[in-house]
Each structure stands twice: as C-alpha cells, then as structure tokens.
Symmetry: C2
Amino acid sequence: MEMKQQLAADQALVEEALARYGDQWPTLGDLKEAMNYSLLSGGKRIRPVLTLAVCRLFGGDPEKALPFACGLEMIHTYSLIHDDLPCMDDDDLRRGRPTNHRVYGEATAVLAGDGLLTAAFGVLVQAELSPAQIVRGVACLSQAAGPAGMVGGQILDLAGEGKTLTYEEILRIQNLKTGCMIEAAARLGAIAADSTPQEEEAAAAYARKIGLAFQIRDDLLDVLGDEAELGKPIGSDRENEKSTFVGLQGIEGCERLIAELTEEAITALTAYPGREFLCQLARMLAGRTR
Amino acid sequence: MEMKQQLAADQALVEEALARYGDQWPTLGDLKEAMNYSLLSGGKRIRPVLTLAVCRLFGGDPEKALPFACGLEMIHTYSLIHDDLPCMDDDDLRRGRPTNHRVYGEATAVLAGDGLLTAAFGVLVQAELSPAQIVRGVACLSQAAGPAGMVGGQILDLAGEGKTLTYEEILRIQNLKTGCMIEAAARLGAIAADSTPQEEEAAAAYARKIGLAFQIRDDLLDVLGDEAELGKPIGSDRENEKSTFVGLQGIEGCERLIAELTEEAITALTAYPGREFLCQLARMLAGRTR
C-alpha cells in the first residue's frame, strides 16, 4: 500500500476506535459530551498512528495495538484540555475550535481531563494481548505521562515563562513535555508486537528524534505559520513569553536541526526492512505546514 | 492482635509505603513537593487500610497488596486536590491545612493532581502479584475512579448545587463520588489475595454499606461537628447549597440509617471467620467524630 493510503487507513482505524470508546462513557451531566468534544475533534492522530506502525514493523497485528494507541491518544487529549485552562496557558482556541473550558466551563473541563486520563488505563487493559504485555504497557504510559514525564515537563514549562532559557533547558522541557509521549507511542507499538528489547529501543530512538523535530517545527510554525491553517493563534509563544528553539537557533538553524534529526530517525531503523512507512512519516512530519 | 493495634500497624505500613513512593518522583519545579504536601498530610487512610484488611481476610499477604492500596490512596488524594480548586468547591482548608492551590497556586495544584493520578497506575503495576492480578487491579481502579465512577459523581455533585435533590438522587451521586472508590478498595484487596468471585462480591457488598454509612456520617459532622476537630469549615455543604442526607432524613433518621447500614455490612461477611477486624472497623467508622 502507498504510504498516504496506509496513513489514511490507520487514521481511520484510530478514529473509529476512539469514537467507539467515546460512546461507552455513561451520560452523567455533560461529562461525556465534554470528553468527546476534545477527543473526537479531529487531531492528526500522529501518536496512535505511530503505535500502529511500529507494531506492524515488528510483525505484530496493528488491530491488537489499537487499545494502546487509543489510551495514549486519550492521555494526549486530556493534557491539551488541562494545558488550555485559564490557570495554565489560558487559550481560547484549539484545533480551530473554542477550547474545552470555553464551551463547558472550567470545572467540567478539569473533570473531562481527569475522566480521559483515568479511562485511558481502562482502555489499555482491554487489549487482546497477554497480561504481561498489558502490564508493560501500563507501566510505560504511566511513566511517560506522569511526574517524570509529561506532567513534569508542563510544570517546568510554566516555571520557565518570562525567563530566558538556554538551549539545553528548552531541550529538557520539550523532551519531558512532548518527547516522552511520542517515545511511549513507539514503545507501546513494540510492546503490542511483543518485540525484542533491541527492537523496542530502535523504535524509541526513532521516536525521540522525530519528536524533537516535531517540536522544533511547532515553534517555527508559531512564528511563520498561518493562523487559520494552524487552528490556533500565531505568536502565542511570544505572547506567553516562552523561550523557543527559534529564538535561540534562528529559522535557518531550526530547519537544519529538523533535517538532521529526521535523517537520524531514519538511520535508527536501518536494520528493519519494513521501515519505509516510518521513514516517509518522519519526512512528512518534518515538512508539515500545520 | 487487638483491633486498634492492627489498625495502627496497617496505617503505619501505608504511611511508610506512601512516603517511599513520594520520595521517588523527580524534583522538577515544585511538583514533587506539591504532590507530597497532599499525599503525606496524614489522612485517616481508611481506603488503603480496607484493601489490606480484605486481602488478609481472604488469606493473602497484605504487604503484596500495598501497591494497590497506595495507588488507590493516590487517586483519592488527587481527587481532593482537584475538588478543592477555585472552579470546583473553592475550599481553603483541608485536613486542617491550607488546600494545595492555596499553597502552590492553581496551575501547580492541577498538575499535582494529574501527577498523582497518572503515577497511581505506575504504582499498581509494581505489585508483586501475577500480571493477570495486576490487570484486574488496573481495570477495577480505572472503572471506579473514572467517568462511570468518581469523576462522574463529581460532575453530578457540581450540577446538583443549588438544586433540591431527592433521596435517590443524593444516593446516586454519593455512590458514584465516594462509594465506588471505597468498593474498589475492598475489591483490590480481594484481587491481591487472588480470591474467588464470591469472596470479592462479599467484600464489595460490605464496602458499599460502610461507604454509604461513612458519607451519611460526613453529612452529619458537617452540621454538628467541631471545626477544629474536623479540619475543615463547618456548614460548607450548606454554604455551597448542597442537598444532603441530613436535610432529607433529619439527624435521627441519619443515625438510624448509619446503624442499619453498619449491621448490613457486618452481615455481608458472616461466612468469613476472620471478619472481626472489618466488623470493628465498620462500627468505628459509623461512630467517628471527625
């Protein structure tokens, strides 16, 4: 299958599965509606697609990796809801639509996030994999999303606002805040395929590289992008006084970094014949315009 | 061992284990401090003690149930932090100390809650139990704490403020908001003991009864209690315009309900010779003054 067809097929698989899970929450107040407003708002689904692709690369059945992929996407979604809250980044727009708390109010937005985060682990355990694989998956996701990962990155990100950070400090924050979850997406695919530790590490290395390239591209788009296409306000990083890769490395430096990281990501998978989809995915993400 | 000695020993076991887990989070900003401020603030540890006691009742090793007990207590703790937020109940005092957001600010309090919730599942998987038991534990806790449990109860509780609710409506809210987690505490103990489904259901029935009695006592204490002893403002339910059991059943009606529920809880365990501790725990909770 062509890369773009495969990508569309995987995205559709994820979208359907998320809609199925979203349909399962009970109707209590507007909780279900608020959870699904953000969960089913048509993100790019990069993380779950990565889980499916890594599972396929190592000979696993991507369908069996779906609960892992969807659980991770639910955690990614909750983090966006909480990040947008007035006490955090105070954003009004996300993916071209009003943020969760702008529609449902702050209290419901906090709870919609809590609900997605809690339910994510309940989705993981539904995977038709061995209990040992599921336990590995839960451990991996909790580690990546928790205080030593995404939540830790968010606290450093908030603490860094208004300060001038070094390249190393930005790198550390972005690695925790964004990188850990992209790496976890790859690891979950490897776990679902019951891969060897070597295979899992190769996929993790690939993911770390594309994750960083992804984040640098994000910073560039915040400076150069088109507001309508991006679905969020341009220049919001500068407005929130955030130190960014662009500020430290310049536009050309960032483009060079992205190109290097993408090649390194591809190199990490040299040993695996089925890597073509992931190589093209890395290049596509590196050159994205939104 | 005497009941009170056993209780103190179990509480100490839980307290030490929580301190050990709390020591593990990395030091990123004030996240670790904020998480541990609430986690190690000396609650009664009713839920984790229940997990250990049920595990013991069914012949399991309570030490092996500790990660389950602590994971559940971490989720209970996160729920208190988020419930106290300005956009929720807007409380200034919890367990006799300023609430998390009053000390660390709203953003950090949200993240401390998110961190505890996420890390809880990482603690669960550390249990020295079979992968199948751990998967059952994760499923149980996610279900009880998620949109069909505690988070669902909280949204209904907020939606009910300022409205006159029927007894059945209050019962449903309390069951979701508080009952599900107390029931999960008992179930986790049964799962850690690798109990039969019958045993697990008996423990769950016991927990549902004491959970409801616990909540009715909470309402009574909110009306009658001593602020200093309770560690939170008296009359806060009335202030938040919450319908309560006391409002609907009166003080005497509530006392009668608590007594009935406690006897029903004890009856649920009739078949199990080692039930004495849990019987005394039920009576102690029913008569508590804070």
